[in-house]
């Protein structure tokens, strides 16, 4: 697609439109002048004008206006513009895919569900106004459960933004066990941030007290981190030029904020990426292939609406690969519980049915289709991805 060609074509439309518009002005002015001239004649000869003269002035004006033929002039300038106005959409149709709904299936697409998904999408991004607005306008009965949960998260984040860690620490200690299961060190990280704040803005005693109360419990598990933090005490007031200056970096705040979002979403059973945005961007990538497929199938008069599986792969970027799909290189079947992938002694992998076929139902040894190695069914073992 050549965007420049399209831009040029559009510029031509605008140019013709301006031309036509200034032509209109010109013609209107011209007609106006003729009428005013006629008026002037009336006024200059006002006293002595006989009705004969008066009639001839008007007749002359009529003739003059007919000679200008303004309406025909408009039509002339409009004609060229019209050509461009109808050419441009045709160019768009050629350069773009004019109907992307060809790959759409006419199935029941429950708009209540779609509305809830959109509302959640807004809530997850902290856009509570928008979420509430669509729930209200669409007349959906209840705001989604996720709203209050994301509201809590954004309150915590908002406090963190102004360096108030209290809500975050409360949440972390309320969810200590689950965070531990997830292997998160968020609690230590938050306490470290708090300690560094006190160290820079409070007294030495405050910092020491804080360390004793909140950091000491971590000393056993996180020896090195705690040692560094305590080392900072020696450089209070000149941390910036100390070996520990890195601990003051704002990136620690950013990282902890990100981790909090991640863990919060995880404990909610949510992804930290909006699922709507994941599904839609997968659609951006996948739709061109689906449209080609729909065209091919329409040409072959094949059924688009009812198929159970797409006949061709739709390639998506890595980040949309959420599940392990094993495809047997021999039979092209997708692995399943009944037909799992099997590892042969040569370390090639086929599906169970292919192996059964090659071994004539495990009655004999067989050669691997990919290398000269021989194998028997007994030597093959099931794989779990």
């Amino acid at each position: 697609m050549e965007l420049n060609t399209i831009k040029d074509a559009f510029d031509r439309v605008v140019k013709k439109q301006k031309l036509s518009s200034s032509k209109s002005h010109e013609v209107i002015d011209h007609v106006g002048q003729e009428i005013e001239q006629a008026l002037a004649k009336f006024l200059s000869t006002h006293d002595s004008t006989s009705s004969i003269d008066q009639k001839s002035i008007l007749a002359e004006l009529k003739l003059k206006l007919n000679a200008i033929s303004p309406v025909q002039q408009f039509e002339g300038s409009q004609k060229e513009l019209n050509q461009n106005l109808s050419k441009y959409p045709k160019l768009l149709e050629r350069s773009f895919n004019p109907d992307i709904s060809k790959a759409y299936r006419n199935v029941d697409f429950d708009f209540h569900i779609v509305n809830q998904i959109i509302a959640n999408h807004f809530y997850q991004q902290g856009l509570f106004d928008l979420g509430d607005s669509i729930i209200y306008e669409a007349g959906e009965h209840e705001a989604t459960v996720l709203k209050s949960q994301f509201l809590e998260m954004y309150q915590i984040l908002e406090s963190m933004r102004v360096k108030n860690l209290e809500p975050a620490l409360n949440w972390v200690s309320a969810n200590r066990e689950k965070l531990k299961q997830n292997g998160s060190h968020l609690e230590l990280k938050l306490h470290s941030l708090q300690y560094m704040e006190i160290l820079q803005n409070g007294t030495q005693a405050d910092a020491l007290n804080y360390a004793k109360t909140y950091l000491a419990p971590f000393a056993f598990l996180y020896k090195e981190e705690i040692m560094k933090l305590m080392g900072c005490l020696a450089f209070r007031g000149r941390l910036a030029s100390s070996p520990y200056s890195e601990l003051m970096s704002p990136t620690h705040w950013e990282k902890s904020t990100d981790e909090l979002i991640q863990q919060f979403c995880r404990l909610l059973g949510q992804s930290c990426k909006s699922p709507l945005s994941v599904a839609i961007t997968a659609g951006f990538e996948g739709l061109p292939t689906l449209l080609k497929l729909a065209n091919v199938m329409a040409a072959k008069k094949q059924e688009w609406q009812a198929m159970k599986q797409l006949p061709v792969p739709v390639e998506l970027s890595k980040e949309y690969q959420f599940h392990s799909i094993f495809v047997c290189p021999v039979s092209r079947d997708q692995g399943s519980e009944e037909n799992p992938p099997m590892l042969m002694p040569c370390l090639h992998v086929l599906c169970k049915q292919s192996i059964m076929k090659l071994s004539k139902s495990s009655t004999r040894t067989f050669k691997c289709p990919y290398c000269p190695a021989e194998a028997s069914v007994a030597q093959c073992r099931q794989l779990y991805f």
Binding site: V31, N66, G283, P313, F385
Partner: protein, 411 residues
């Protein structure tokens, strides 16, 4: 049969190790171009709007000018005009022309704004590149959400989203304002704005053989019958329905029969004509005609992209309990939407490491534990490093040594 992977393990015959090849990185640029080709509506709608304004302005100029010209020639043809009357008449024509010029200027201003909008969209398409793609797609999602809201008549939310994201030029709120008037009226059981809209777009509706105006007329007729105003109904039918007789005889006859019944009829064929849902049907019909006229898809863009995305993502594993939360199809709402859609298809294995969730490919090949469980090399190396070479299977608790692992060859 493909031969793109061969073993190099210790238990295999002496075939020389051949490095497996991954398919060449799919051209991101090509993919982006393909994806931009989906944006027809984005450029078409503002252009149709622009075109409409130009045509309407032009009609005004022509009409006014014609009546000024005929004003002069009428005066010239009259014999009874006094001098003062003639002067007054000419003066009024002059001020009429001045008014026309003002209208023309105002019209040009609107045309200019609409041309700028068309321009802004071309520039926006041009601004997409591989580096800013995720940001650009974010904006794209917002545009698509506004499109959805406008089509669903959630105007306030649409306006809020457009304003807060500063994308007013990239969405079609003002186009839909025109639709809103008609839809609101139809919902109040008024057809006048819809009929006016039909008159405005007469030639294009005729070209696409639209039945919309006919349906509006039928509804008005039915309303007269409902009000037991039979005489007026008949007059109305003669005037407004008869012209459609040549093309829509069957429907006409069916509606005429209602004259014999009353709105309380129990006969199903006729009862349905009196249902209030007929008005909803008119709203739907109008929306369709409206979208066609502006070169929009009949379905909201959101539904089209969502279906495509869900179909591309849908696998049998999505519906299992342990489906990862990163997959939109782990959520009940998305699962329901995807239920009638086809599963995706793979021609080649795509294996995702259970631990790191990363793709296992030649750079990060899959390794098999003695219990048959498979994880990525990266994950296993990391685990071995932390635990003195010990590997613990996270799904079964099975423990082994890093050196017990074998690489699997999956083509």
């Amino acid at each position: 049969m493909e031969m793109n992977s061969l073993p190099n393990g210790n238990s295999t015959p002496s075939t020389p190790p051949v490095p497996t090849t991954t398919s060449p990185p799919s051209s991101k640029v090509g993919q982006l171009a393909e994806s931009l080709r989906l944006e027809h509506q984005f450029l078409r709608v503002p252009f149709e709007h622009y075109k409409k304004t130009i045509r309407a302005n032009h009609r005004v100029v022509e009409k006014e000018m014609s009546s000024v010209i005929s004003g002069v020639s009428d005066a010239a043809d009259r014999d009874d005009l006094s001098s003062d009357e003639a002067v007054n008449h000419l003066n009024s024509l002059v001020s009429r022309l001045q008014g026309l010029k003002r209208k023309l200027e105002e019209g040009s201003r609107v045309e200019h704004l609409q041309a700028q909008r068309c321009r802004a969209r071309l520039d926006h398409l041009e601004s997409a590149d591989a580096e800013n793609l995720s940001e650009w797609n974010n904006m794209r999602l917002k545009r698509i959400l506004v499109d959805y809201m406008l089509r669903m008549s959630y105007y306030d939310t649409a306006v809020k989203l457009a304003e807060s994201s500063n994308i007013q030029d990239l969405v079609d709120i003002d186009v839909f304002q025109e639709a809103k008037k008609v839809i609101d009226a139809l919902q109040n059981k008024e057809v006048a704005p819809a009929l006016a809209w039909c008159a405005d777009n007469k030639s294009r509706l005729k070209k696409s053989r639209s039945k919309f105006e006919f349906q509006l007329r039928l509804q008005e007729f039915v309303e007269l019958v409902r009000a037991e105003n039979n005489l007026r109904a008949i007059t109305y039918a003669r005037k407004y329905l008869a012209p459609w007789g040549s093309t829509h005889m069957k429907e006409l006859q069916r509606v005429f029969v209602t004259l014999a019944y009353k709105s309380t009829t129990e006969c199903a064929t006729y009862k349905v004509l009196f249902e209030p849902t007929q008005w909803d049907h008119l709203v739907d019909l109008f929306k369709q005609e409206f979208c066609k006229l502006y070169g929009m898809t009949l379905e909201p863009l959101l539904n089209i992209y969502l279906q495509a995305g869900l179909s591309a993502l849908k696998t049998p594993y999505c519906y299992e309990d342990d489906c990862t939360k990163e997959d939109p199809l782990s959520q009940e709402s998305f699962r329901k939407l995807a239920l009638p859609l086809p599963y995706s298809k793979q021609h080649h294995s795509k294996l995702v490491c259970y631990i790191t969730k990363e793709l296992m490919d030649t750079e990060n090949p899959p390794q098999v534990l003695p219990n048959g469980y498979v994880y990525s090399t990266k994950a296993l190396e990391e685990m071995a490093k932390k635990n003195d070479g010990k590997i613990t299977c996270p799904r079964t608790g099975f423990v082994c040594n890093y050196k017990d692992l074998v690489k699997a060859y999956i083509s």
